[in-house]
Assembly symmetry: C2
């Protein structure tokens, strides 16, 4: 099986489930959203299923309308080191913003988590849309979309230099002479760019992975270009197989255009699996979730995604005609997914809210475990996915069902690992430790001389 | 014993010991500085001794001269959540800079650690001296001393508001009606000041302590004023009993002057305990540590602290005459401690380097466990200390010796707790959960109406 292409599974952990009404189910914890033990349980379930990784979204603001749904979240860079202590092999991915952090601090934080987790950390790089976040950092509104991505590129460049700033063989450790390290192996980076001036070196030595797995999640043109240059895994929202195939083909081509090997960048569409032991049971579960939605919540979120107000009076009408995505300064790619979905399936706003309730524009797969596995296999084998970002509607039960009922089918079909073979997250994703630019430079110099 | 004043003990954890030559001892780990397991072991030893807390210093730069001593460190806000998982009761204090962070991010990070640790986090608030750190954040040199403290004050004010931004009774949690929370209990803070504009609210709900224990460690005039307004524990470097008494009296008076209860702010001088089973054995240990010092290392550090170059040619001369501390933009209080020490004891630079080798200006207590306990008791009972910041010269052995040999004497004398009585770090330090400003305001309003 080792030569055969197998899929990658990431568990996207968020509050008590991705469905906006999840908290209203009898089984759901009212305070699980902010409870470490909830996430300990989820991490262990995902590890039991041999998932590549667990993943936390993030933004530095209180998102969503807490009147109708749990909101707020612990800093994922605090959750990950805690979860590293209760798991052994699963990768740990945190989202962090390049708009509202400094590269020295964030490069160091991820290096520290990589050290603490023995090489299991990943960074989902986001540029953070939203006025609410901007106003927590002295700004009046979200910085302009393209400029955010320019800052993000330079931010990641600085981090990559910092992660390379110590060569692997820096340690002398001669207790007799008192020589601890070879300072010529530890480099200032002297970065001076448009957004940042950073002298370096980092104050953390090389970590097990060398650098975190780099993940990207925005599918706008700027986001795709960024992913093509930097990402090693890409999370995306795709509603149909053909949309998924088009996105996959486009991104793989852009990756090749950046001079990178497209096979080494894994594309993982988000899926919301609604599972039942029969198809009817799965449909009933889906209907029950929809029944518990509060329209005021969905309207607020829809208005935020679209950058325009949609009210109660619009519920039984089609989605109003809206302008072009490129004018949107917030979530450009989410804007496209939502407006396309409404247009294609001729949905009223009320119907659209139900379609969005499960995963905010991510595809819902409803059916028996076999049916869900069939669909995953179809997407995987027909050029739409290298794996999936699994977004259970209810947590923990939806993750448990997926791990206990869908994953064994995928394993049996040879589509998914039956045990961990790698130690680090990069190894789970089939990636080696990247070469150090300073060491490489030395070697080239000595070869030339 | 509960009515009697007892002392507080904090374990200051740093690399393989506070003595600059610690790594050269046969027992010392070459890579312990960056090894989670080293700190797991230390945290468990300190907890076995019923210490109030463990503590990590920090700065966002590669400090020190790594040619002669381990340097660099993991981000302490990453270490603490990991250590929270392997300890039960001990407090966990991380240093973080107000100069090189944003208040929203840091308030959130400490709230998250408080949640993950069930109420055991503390924040040592520093303003970060040093050109090396400045140059990692786009600056040419350290921002001016007084301005750093002005920013620090506003930074903490913003954090305090954010930690209060959710009232305790925000949760409705009515699954039947779909009402999750009372949004009127969650407040924007709308802070607009000289350094920061932050809208809020925080995106983390109230945590077990409400806010971290606030710790401060600079003893310059600006640092003391800052401590008087905000600190709940103060770490300080004092060489002699009389200096310790003068500092203690001055700071307690300033605290009262700020309208706060001086008894609720604990002052903990740093001590480097060098322990032997006889006095001669302790002296021999001290000599062995001094013998392993590399002068070039101490000269580099001394030059940094003093803001002036001191070279090999100065080793056998008295410390050169230097200007006034108030002109120093870096470590003002450390400058005073060091120049006073050299002047008072008429030390050559070489002798001074030996005195500084153990704890960079902190007091070394050398002797038998009884003698060390006697000195601690003297400082505690004669108005120089409410407890101690214990800085073992070697780690873990120095902490083990202190816990196994000195702590039992302090317990027997009724000077230190024999078991944990509190659950949270604030409780260990005799502090209650502070009232929420928004809740207090409501109550006053309703009382008035």
């Amino acid at each position: 099986m080792s030569d055969r292409r197998t899929l990658h599974l990431n568990a996207f952990l968020m509050t008590v489930g991705h469905h906006e009404a999840a908290w209203r189910f009898p089984e759901s914890s009212l305070t699980g959203t902010w409870d470490l033990n909830h996430y300990v349980r989820l991490a262990r379930i995902a590890e039991r299923g041999h998932f590549d990784s667990i993943f936390f979204g993030d933004g530095p603001a209180l998102h969503g309308d807490i009147r109708f749904r749990p909101a707020g979240r612990l800093d994922p860079t605090v959750l990950l080191p805690a979860l590293a202590m209760v798991t052994e092999r699963i990768g740990l991915i945190a989202t962090a913003s390049t708009t509202y952090n400094e590269p020295y601090n964030l490069a160091r934080r991820f290096a520290s988590i990589d050290q603490v987790s023995d090489g299991r950390v990943g960074w989902n790089i986001v540029t953070t849309a939203g006025k609410d976040a901007a106003q927590n950092f002295g700004l009046d509104d979200t910085p302009e979309h393209h400029g955010r991505y320019e800052r993000a590129s330079e931010f990641v460049d600085v981090c990559l230099k910092l992660w390379d700033s110590w060569e692997a063989d820096f340690l002398i450790g001669d207790k007799a002479s008192g020589r601890f390290a070879d300072a010529t192996k530890i480099h200032a980076i002297d970065h001076s760019g448009r957004f940042f001036r950073v002298r370096g070196p980092l104050n953390v030595p090389p970590t097990p992975q060398g650098r975190p797995l780099l993940v990207q999640a925005g599918s706008s043109p700027d986001g795709r270009e960024f992913a093509a240059r930097y990402a090693e895994a890409v999370f995306t929202a795709q509603q149909t197989l053909s949309e998924g195939q088009a996105f996959y083909a486009d991104l793989k081509q852009r990756i090749a255009g950046s001079g990178r090997n497209p096979a080494l960048v894994k594309i993982l569409p988000g899926i919301v699996p609604v599972i039942g032991s029969t198809e009817a049971e799965a449909r009933a579960r889906e209907d029950e979730l929809a029944r518990l939605q509060v329209p005021a919540y969905g309207l607020r979120q829809l208005s935020d995604f679209l950058g325009t107000e949609v009210g109660e009076e619009d519920l039984d009408r089609p989605l109003p005609e809206l302008g072009n995505a490129s004018a949107v300064q917030g979530h450009q790619s989410r804007f496209v997914v939502i407006t396309e979905l409404a247009r294609r399936d001729k949905l009223t706003v009320r119907e659209l809210l139900i379609r969005l309730g499960g995963g905010r524009g991510h595809r819902t797969f409803t059916g028996t475990p076999e049916q869900v596995a069939d669909t995953l296999q179809e997407w995987f084998l027909s050029g739409a996915a290298d794996g999936f970002n699994v977004m259970p509607p209810l947590l923990p039960s939806g993750l448990e069902e997926f791990v206990d009922q869908v994953v064994p089918i995928l394993k049996k079909r040879g589509l998914f690992r039956t045990e961990y073979t790698g130690r680090t997250l990069r190894e789970h994703y089939g990636l080696s430790r990247p070469p150090n630019r300073f060491t490489t430079h030395h070697n080239q110099t000595s070869r030339a001389s």
